[in-house]
């Protein structure tokens, strides 16, 4: 009997649950019934200025439906002719207009009330989904932050192993010597009193030679490297990650460094170029960033720094003061006695940025990849084959090489053949 009642209860419970589930899914379905149509209409008419969740040219639209004074009827009027609503002196409308820097929303008389309802359904759907998604994975976010700690350096490990092995070797040597002595004593061979190592001439000679060589090596290297800054990786005023911009977001190098094919300088982009995107993109949503020391970096805070420098107020969405220059730290520094032009290398030579600057699209903090020494320049000039035959720049000069190429005497022209190793090519 008890078994049966248990079974009955379970069935009842199941039925209620599935009914509730059906009702819930039906109602959800009903609310978003025309969201698909609304999505299409939104993409065609609204998406150029509005985002459901974020402020853009116009305000974020999610939740506005409950905020406006006259409900949907107000929205119909606004969408059909917003300037008429403002002109009518509607308080909310005038406020909105002032708050958004007097940017006029164009009229959409072709949208029917049904169309607008569908669009609003779509906005509600997007907003509700985002809310649910934000509520759910609170635990997941934390995990991500701790998991991606930077890889540690192996040098310390190697050092310890070397030290341990050296100690073991020393102990073995000592043991060997003691055993030898004991064996000698047993056989009655006289052993000389051992000379302490600091008075042992062989030791002293050996150590001096090794010290001398090491000192010479380091001293020469240090002297050669004076004025070279390879691996220089300074902290910049804003944690600008080339990995995020050029790597993940696939922004072309020339987008920001537009001068690289037009002038000597590659051009540190002016702040208006940053603001081309960051007027709209005001938070960072990519992978967690770390300084080379392994400290976590808050990307959104770094974007706020840009707003400070640019004099941009993200709340009012306009420039409110003259701003300040960002004092980026120069990394690649050629002395004044060297002439270098990006234009020659990028526009004419068609050299990829990475040839000299390394895997820049993987760098969070930029470091100097090449040593920028003269030997490095000259070696490249000697070995690099110039795009010669089909390059308009060379079409009317160096006719001798054109001839020889045609005759097959040479198969390619290197930069050195064009005078790329002459002193006065870079020093004048």
């Amino acid at each position: 009997m008890s078994d049966f009642s248990y079974f009955g209860r379970t069935v009842k419970y199941l039925v209620i649950c599935s009914l509730a589930f059906c009702m819930f899914s039906f109602s959800a379905h009903h609310v978003y019934a025309d969201a698909q149509r609304g999505k299409q209409l939104f993409q065609q008419n609204c998406a150029q200025c509005h985002n459901p969740l974020r402020d853009a040219t116009g305000p974020a639209l999610y939740g506005k439906e409950n905020e406006v004074p006259g409900g949907r009827k107000w929205i119909y009027n606004w969408v059909h002719n917003s300037s008429a609503v403002i002109a009518s002196g509607d308080k909310y409308a005038v406020n909105l207009f002032n708050q958004w820097n007097h940017v006029q929303m164009p009229p959409f008389p072709q949208l029917t009330n049904q169309d607008i309802d569908d669009i609003l359904d779509y906005i509600k759907q997007v907003g509700d989904e985002a809310k649910q998604a934000a509520a759910a994975p609170a635990a997941g976010g934390q995990q991500g932050a701790t998991a991606a700690a930077p890889a540690s350096n192996n040098n310390l490990l190697y050092g310890i192993i070397t030290l341990v092995l050296a100690i073991v070797a020393l102990i073995l040597l000592q043991v060997n010597r003691s055993l030898n002595r004991m064996a000698n004593e047993k056989e009655g061979i006289e052993t000389r009193e051992p000379v302490p190592f600091y008075r042992n001439k062989t030791y002293i000679a050996l150590v001096s030679v090794v010290l001398f060589l090491m000192a010479g090596y380091f001293l020469t290297n240090a002297a050669v490297n004076i004025g070279r800054q390879q691996n220089y990786e300074p902290t910049q005023p804003i944690f600008y990650s080339h990995r995020v911009h050029a790597g993940i977001n696939q922004i072309n190098c020339l987008y920001c460094h537009a001068g690289a094919e037009k002038s000597k300088h590659a051009m540190i982009p002016s702040q208006n170029i940053c603001m081309n995107c960051h007027m709209a993109i005001n938070s960072y949503s990519g992978p967690q960033l770390y300084t080379p020391e392994g400290k976590a970096v808050d990307g959104t805070a770094e974007i706020q720094k840009l707003y400070y420098y640019a004099g941009w107020d993200p709340k009012q969405r306009k420039y409110v003061n003259a701003g300040h220059p960002i004092q980026w730290v120069k990394i690649h520094n050629l002395p004044d006695f060297v002439y270098f032009s990006h234009e020659q290398h990028v526009a004419v030579g068609k050299i990829q940025c990475q040839v000299c600057h390394g895997p820049i699209q993987n760098m969070d903090v930029v470091y100097q990849f090449s040593d920028l020494s003269m030997g490095w320049c000259v070696n490249c000039h000697r070995t690099t084959k110039v795009h010669f035959a089909d390059n308009a720049y060379y079409s009317n000069i160096f006719m001798k090489y054109h001839e020889e190429l045609k005759q097959g005497k040479i198969d390619s022209v290197t930069e050195a053949m064009l005078g790329g190793t002459d002193c006065q090519r870079c020093h004048y």
Binding site: A47, L53, A56
Partner: protein
């Protein structure tokens, strides 16, 4: 014994000198032979310059002047001289593309420039589906040049928008010279001409 001390002392001295010369820390650029040659005493493009009130060495062009070589053709074209204002935007459509001839090379250069400077938002297909929008980072849909309102947008209006920016798009005047801007617009118009030739209407192009 004195000789021995001398040798050891000398070696240790050299070693410590070498260690001293070593660079330490990623923020240290290291030592240089001639600082006044490495760190220019003349004003560099980005250096502080106290001669000017805003202390910047890079100066904007004097208003009303035309930098040499920066117009399309000095004899045929005065620079685009509409100011940034709503009324100027309204009449910008009357400005015509001043490039004397538009060749295949012009269009190819326009396409190359478009793919560098515009495609990140507007997409290489000019459909408003650039990587920044598709990844969800850019909140609003960039203009889809296949839509009817852009098919009929005059090139002068496009030039105004590229020069001064429009809505969430910023000015590209600092990245693209006037000639380059007209090349990009010539390329956009050449792609749109194919749409118009197909007799495309809004419903067939608006498909996702």
């Amino acid at each position: 014994m004195r000789k021995q001390k001398l040798v050891i002392g000398l070696s240790a001295g050299m070693l410590s000198l070498a260690l001293f010369a070593c660079q330490a820390g990623r923020n240290n650029p290291g030592r240089i032979y001639a600082p006044d040659m490495y760190y220019s005493r003349a004003y560099d493009a980005y250096s502080v310059n106290l001669v000017y009130p805003d202390s910047m060495s890079s100066r904007p062009p004097v208003p009303g002047t035309v930098p040499r070589g920066h117009t399309v053709n000095a004899h045929e074209l005065l620079p685009f001289n509409l100011p940034q204002s709503d009324s100027a935007y309204a009449v910008s459509g009357q400005v015509k593309n001043p490039l004397p001839v538009i060749t295949q090379a012009t269009l190819e250069e326009g396409q190359r420039l478009f793919n560098i400077y515009c495609a990140i938002c507007h997409g290489e297909q000019l459909d408003g589906q650039g990587p920044l929008y598709k990844s969800g980072k850019f909140p609003v849909q960039p203009a889809n040049f296949h839509l009817p309102q852009y098919l009929k947008m005059p090139e002068g209006t496009m030039f105004y928008s590229v020069t001064y920016g429009k809505n969430l798009m910023g000015s590209y005047a600092s990245q693209l010279s006037e000639r380059q801007r007209w090349e990009v617009i010539a390329y956009i118009k050449s792609v749109q001409a194919k749409d118009l030739a197909k007799g495309a209407d809004s419903t067939s192009v608006a498909k996702k």
